[in-house]
Symmetry: D2
Subunit: 161 residues, 4 copies
Amino acid sequence: MTIRIFVTGGTFDKTYDEIEGALTFGDTHLNEMLHLGRCHVDVSVRTLMMIDSLAMTADDRAVIVRNCLTCEESRIVVTHGTDTMVDTAAALAAGVPGKTIVLTGAMVPYAFGSSDGLFNLGSALSFAQTLPPGVYIAMNGRHFSWDRVRKNKEAGIFEET
Amino acid sequence: MTIRIFVTGGTFDKTYDEIEGALTFGDTHLNEMLHLGRCHVDVSVRTLMMIDSLAMTADDRAVIVRNCLTCEESRIVVTHGTDTMVDTAAALAAGVPGKTIVLTGAMVPYAFGSSDGLFNLGSALSFAQTLPPGVYIAMNGRHFSWDRVRKNKEAGIFEET
Amino acid sequence: MTIRIFVTGGTFDKTYDEIEGALTFGDTHLNEMLHLGRCHVDVSVRTLMMIDSLAMTADDRAVIVRNCLTCEESRIVVTHGTDTMVDTAAALAAGVPGKTIVLTGAMVPYAFGSSDGLFNLGSALSFAQTLPPGVYIAMNGRHFSWDRVRKNKEAGIFEET
Amino acid sequence: MTIRIFVTGGTFDKTYDEIEGALTFGDTHLNEMLHLGRCHVDVSVRTLMMIDSLAMTADDRAVIVRNCLTCEESRIVVTHGTDTMVDTAAALAAGVPGKTIVLTGAMVPYAFGSSDGLFNLGSALSFAQTLPPGVYIAMNGRHFSWDRVRKNKEAGIFEET
């Protein structure tokens, strides 16, 4: 079984630009993280975009849906910014039937030592192997069905609705 | 749902003794790791022992079995050294029916920046929530039934038998 | 010999706000860094302000000068943002005669694993113990007299003028 | 001014062997550390040996002395295990006149996130630029003349004698 991983950016992959003194996007850290986790699951990683999820448009979501629909794998992990993760989950639920799709991200960039990213990635890959077809959000050890979750922006956590 | 976590030591929790210049055991890093992963799963952590799994005796295994049997939770994660993880899994399979028990560990101590521990912990907690009753080993993104796995000591990986 | 350390903020001490998804200032990381370096030099740390050096006003600089002038220690390290470090060095050179003052900072926040902060702090404390009275900038292993240095903002490095 | 760095091993450069589950030596971490510190001092790194300082023989010390004597640089940093650092310092003081030689090391391997190595390296490179000819030990922010220092093995620190 191969798990497809689609990278879309988000806090997960933000990095620090030394010259500008600001957070920015470079290449994804996904492969480095899989290496650190000594991941022995068969995965296939593809970067679709590298953006802040607040900047994600309907067209961007259509790209994600199309890639999940047409890829041959039936178990998929999507890394995504947390702010609009629920919106993309809804688009995937409407457009991609019969596959197990798990969206995950991070509250703190992986490039920070204090990131939850590696924990979330291990968790998302595991849920993607065991959950039945459907669209899920996996954050901080928990998993939520796409239609029963919201981000509590004050507390910075995902919670059931 | 509360997940019970039993700590037994292993590479996962090894730390560096500055005075002796050697690897040793102190307190578990489990709570620090759950904090780093911003874990929002309800967990209950208990340290049963803090030893190298090569030093684990039949009596030690009986302690682990008894604790898994008598705790009220039906979903359990056991952190364990990798060298004899398969032996403890067999003891648990013989002694604790009807619960989902996931053993996990690390190839590199968590105290090292390059550890797979956080990835494995996120993974084990996720498998513990979704797998049916049985005893499993979860390492490096994969999960194995207790009776279909061995540690390949040359390669330093777990593989199916 | 006690070395006085004055904290003023800068990249050195920036941290990541999980709720806002942006870089911000919290408490200083100085004590944590001294602990990590197992620093056995006698130091006395005081936070004067916690700001981006681009936001530093003439009044802020007057506060730094006054504290360096009136403190009883004659060897001082000032942590500072890199963008206007040279300006504060000039103010100190004009206002604080007869003391060894070393300004230092970081190109990447200490909270990032990839920071130069710990290296720079070890360096600055060492220069502060050995250089004659004067005002210096210590960055990335080098030290510069306050009147012979500029920040090359394109390259992100300090260089002699 | 170029600073010569001679690598001899020690805790500084110990790494974790995943297969054996033990501390060992691989390649030096010096270049990675200089990169992390964004070191802009002109340095020239050479590995002389990669051993635990408890295993260092008189012949090994003769190799270190000869290299420090014959290299063209007059400012030298030697990375070294802490247990016999004082002995090598004495050999260097007897055999290499007229150069500034700074020995440094770490209480915890650099490969551990909790290492003092980066702090010590920044410090040693700075002392090597500013101290007069002589042989010194630089650890944890302090510097000691070779004939006025001992390692307090109970406390794990260097102290004046």
